[in-house]
């Protein structure tokens, strides 16, 4: 009788007889056929041994002694170009959107007899938040993303993975985590999705949890601005650009170090196991297509990220306006909260303003800095900055921002700790949601959310203690 069960039984019996080598035998037969067919069709022009550029570049960028320095150097160059190139267009967009359009909108609202709270919520809240996000986010992204994409197009990313692979394997994680980490530098949600390329569930969860340690583009502007003010401001002006770029790079590298340390801790504790092997092909270098790269990185990355920021910024702007204008006994909600958290925040070298800003900015990291500035104005009641309580404003230059923050009681320590806290805090709402979707586990989602905050608090606390001890 020709029954399927019988066929399967028969196959099982045969399998027992054949032993384990079948897989290899099949592969061998495929390889033999492929080699024969390819051999007939391919002709290789021998003789003139041309200088092999690919091999030469690979030796350099994946070399034992040269690989990492070149990686750091490339990072610094990219950041430096971003920092020094973004200021001018930022200021231009800001002066257009804030100095020109904002008063026009206000006049329009007055003309239409809007009640004060409506024009406050819409124009001083939502509109100004949008204006700020666009003027601060767009220029650095329009410079950073194309450069990053060019490197990617050229084939540099697998070399980074190759350099990092050994480190990740040694801490018990998957070598491909180097790739998801690189993706995270663009966007953590994208990095979390990219972790699908890792097959072992254990290593995949490690990659997902630690992806947040890759600084995402929502946090680059914060890093860049704060580094420019506090680190760049502390050195002679001709060194300012390079020094702040180096500071940003150090924070980024610190993120990689944290991802290694946490991977190590996880794979030694809750996610015990051996690292699995994989083969990574180093693709040939390809000359990047400049125009196409510019176009796709602008459409795919820059505009998409900007759009997300805009979507989140508008309601956040409303929230900021409300907490600083809704008052109980003449004191705004924001001031209550800041006064209440200030003493605790001081312990970890931050302040109540930053804590409140991070709570308001949970939906999107992009709006942390505007929130910080607005709240500082509000609590210090400094005159001459901005347009009044709860109005987000654009600083015409970095030095204005610096002056304001210094008046608000900020020190270099606050700057450094803000940079560290920006690296080590909960992922943004999109990433948290993506983690839940990818892991389908509340437990891992919560761990991914709270582990970085806990680390951030501990690290900032330690830095503050040491700083106060020695400085």
């Amino acid at each position: 009788m020709n029954n399927v069960e019988e066929i399967i039984q028969k196959a099982n019996k045969y399998r027992w007889d054949i032993g384990e080598n079948l897989h290899d035998s099949i592969l061998e037969s495929i390889y033999t056929d492929a080699a024969r067919i390819a051999d007939k069709a391919v002709t290789r022009e021998g003789g003139k041994q041309k200088f092999d550029w690919d091999r030469w570049i690979d030796k350099l960028v994946t070399g034992r002694w040269t690989g990492f320095p070149i990686m750091f150097l490339l990072l610094v160059i990219v950041f430096w170009l971003t920092i020094s190139g973004a200021n001018v267009p930022s200021a231009m967009i800001a002066s257009l959107l804030v100095d020109t359009v904002h008063p026009l909108l206000k006049d329009g609202a007055n003309f239409l007899h809007f009640p004060w709270w409506l024009s406050g919520v819409l124009i001083d809240g939502a509109y100004l938040a949008l204006a700020w996000v666009i003027s601060v986010m767009l220029p650095p992204m329009a410079i950073f993303f194309p450069m990053f994409t060019l490197l990617e197009d050229f084939g540099y990313l697998p070399r980074v993975a190759f350099n990092m692979d050994n480190l990740y394997r040694r801490v018990g994680a998957h070598g491909k985590q180097a790739l998801t980490m690189s993706m995270g530098f663009g966007c953590n949600a994208a990095g979390v999705i990219a972790a699908r390329i890792i097959d072992s569930p254990r290593e995949r969860i490690i990659a997902i949890i630690t992806n947040n340690f890759s600084l995402c583009n929502g946090r680059w502007p914060t890093q860049i601005l704060i580094a420019t003010i506090f680190i760049g401001g502390a050195v002679p002006s001709f060194l300012a650009g390079v020094t702040s770029a180096a500071a940003v790079m150090i924070v980024a590298v610190l993120g990689v170090v944290f991802s290694l340390v946490v991977s190590w801790a996880l794979s030694r504790s809750v996610l015990k196991g051996e690292a699995s092997a994989f083969s990574l092909e180093l693709p040939p270098y390809r000359p990047p297509r400049f125009l196409q790269t510019l176009y796709t990185s602008l459409i795919d990355r820059t505009l998409m990220v900007l759009w997300r920021a805009v979507v989140f910024a508008a309601p956040a702007g409303v929230a900021i306006w409300l907490v600083s204008n809704v008052t109980i006994a003449n004191v705004s909600l924001a001031e209550y909260f800041i006064k209440w958290t200030d003493p605790y925040a001081m312990i970890i070298g931050l302040n109540g303003v930053i804590i409140l800003a991070y709570i308001i900015a949970i939906p999107a990291n992009e709006i942390v800095i505007p929130t910080v500035l607005m709240l500082t104005v509000l609590t210090t009641k400094v005159a001459g900055f901005g347009a009044g309580a709860g109005v987000m404003f654009e600083m015409d230059s970095v030095s204005d921002t610096a002056a304001l923050l210094h008046t608000g009681g900020w020190s270099v320590l606050t700057g450094i700790n803000l940079m560290l806290f920006s690296l080590l805090h909960n992922p943004c709402s999109t990433t948290i949601y993506t983690i839940y979707k990818e892991t389908k586990s509340m437990k891992w989602t919560l761990i991914s959310t709270f582990l970085p905050i806990a680390m951030g608090i501990v690290i900032c606390f330690l830095v503050a203690q040491f700083w106060r001890l020695f400085a």
Partner: protein, 263 residues
Amino acid sequence: MVTPDSNCANCPAHNSANLVKLGIDMSNFDYVVALAGNPNTGKSTVFNALTGLKQHTGNWPGKTVGRAEGAFQYSDKRYKIVDLPGTYSLLSTSTDEEIARDFILFGQPDVTIIVVDASRLERNLNLALQVLEITDRAVLCLNLIDEAKRHHISVDDRLLSKSLGIPVVPTAARQNVGIQDLLKNIHEVATGKYICKPYRMKSEIKNVSHAVEDLNKELEVRFPNLANTRWIALRLLEGDQRVIDAVRSGEIGSLTPVETENE
């Protein structure tokens, strides 16, 4: 009656410029096209060239996770195209390989485009041969010929086409070279104008020929419609759970050979 209109419609020159990139509008498609290939051979670039989508491409392996879908229209036929993750084999040793294998085997695409790197043909053919084991309709997209040329490698595409029994189209998708030719061949295979005679593995596999032949005979009786029972027999021998399940449930028998599917 020959009207100027019908003249246009019959002229190959007109048809070749007939690509309408439909992006993600995948409604009412006539054919399904799968895009398979090794990692980093430019599958996503081919995908973008056909659909007009801007799926992010990158020069690193493993960039496409899961699968991306899009659509295009060519010569009045609407095609849905599925970009499969890049893999080195279809022997389902990883999730990626399983996604790709399952789609080609059980998804029954009308055409499978196998994208290979012309400068690494031998290695890439390993996957191509495995794809040909499980489907009857395929087009080999010999991509990155510009790079092969740079490395002084030339590939005889006609000879290759004869050996494999499927159309072979040299392309440089990044420069949009050969895409029209690729479309024409996809169209011809999909509409049945070109009948593929896919190469099936010839080299003897050590120690198992008896077992394979025995199982093969039984499978042929049980599933007379199946195109390649020998491959199924090998999968059963290797203990491939997905294929075992499909044999058990009879799903494998419903995979009708494509020749009878379209008129």
